[in-house]
């Protein structure tokens, strides 16, 4: 499994250099539903330590990006990863990976929306 992991780590390094926080912030449009979708996709494309996702999410929120999008970004950073897909498919098989990622994608959006709505109700 060493070549597989080295391949993924190599890809993560490339993405960390190529996908910058500025690039991420420029993606959001201001519509909560579209931004949740963009947040999910951005988190899935970006990769690295989860602590980086919190720092980036904090920066995004300061720039006025909605909490829907920020929550989705934090969630998909860990559960989804385009960079990991080749390795995940090789280990678990295409069908399982397809189902898992579709579920993770849909639930990332649902959880982000529910969390933000609940927070609004509570506060």
């Amino acid at each position: 499994m060493a070549p597989l992991l080295l391949g993924v780590i190599g890809l993560v390094g490339l993405f960390q250099v190529l996908v910058t926080p500025k690039m991420l912030a420029s993606l959001f449009l201001g519509n909560f539903l579209v931004d949740t979708l963009i947040g999910t996709l951005a988190g899935a494309v970006a990769s690295g330590n989860p602590i980086v996702s919190y720092l980036l999410a904090g920066e995004l929120q300061e720039q006025g990006i909605s909490l829907y999008a920020v929550s989705a970004f934090i969630l998909s950073w860990v559960t989804l990863g385009f960079v990991h897909l080749p390795a995940e498919i090789e280990v678990f098989g295409g069908r399982f990976v397809l189902y898992r990622n579709i579920l993770a994608f849909v639930f990332t959006m649902i959880i982000a929306i529910l969390t933000t709505l609940s927070l609004q109700v509570l506060s």
Partner: protein
């Protein structure tokens, strides 16, 4: 039950080859950025090496001390609520990147671990206990509490849906 030996395979050789080609092209186009990417990868590798060691040790211990039937009892078809709970707890306390856990999960799956529980494990990994204070600091404790609660419920629902999908397709 005799354990089935898997033939040795040089896993991920094509992925590694493609990544090496990427780096080669990248070095020719922009050597400074390519070097920076390589440094980030090296730093990441050094950082997660201890996790790989833990995973390899854990896999070895599991194979040595537990029979496939015991694993199937805890994480297989008949594991019931206990299996879901194990997967949820394991996901929450697991550390490091997702791919560090692939080999252990692959091993457990070959011994009978349900696919639904793998989904629960991956989905509940979003809760990072050591990072919770940072999340609270950035987004507040109510947000952190709500998010964690929905993550746990969502993880279980995802596992449950996956099992239904797999049953329907069988």
């Amino acid at each position: 039950m005799k354990k089935q030996e898997k033939p040795f395979a040089f896993r991920g050789k094509y992925l590694l080859l493609v990544v090496i080609i990427f780096y080669g092209v990248f070095f020719l186009a922009n050597s400074e950025t390519a070097l920076s990417a390589l440094q980030k990868s090296a730093t990441l590798l050094i950082k997660i090496l201890p996790i790989f060691v833990v995973v390899i040790l854990f896999t070895a211990l599991l194979n040595y001390f537990m029979q496939p039937k015991q694993i199937a009892d805890h994480l297989g078809r008949g594991s019931g609520a206990r299996g879901w709970l194990w997967a949820l707890i394991a996901g929450v306390i697991s550390h490091g990147p997702m791919y560090a856990w692939y080999s252990l999960l692959e091993d457990l799956r070959s011994h009978g671990m349900r696919d639904g529980l793998i989904v629960v494990f991956f989905a509940s990994r979003t809760i990072k206990i050591p990072l919770l204070p940072i999340m609270i600091d950035y987004f507040g404790w109510i947000f952190t509490l709500l998010l964690s609660f929905y993550i746990l419920i969502g993880a279980l629902v995802q596992g449950w849906i996956l099992e239904i999908m797999e049953q329907r397709l069988r």
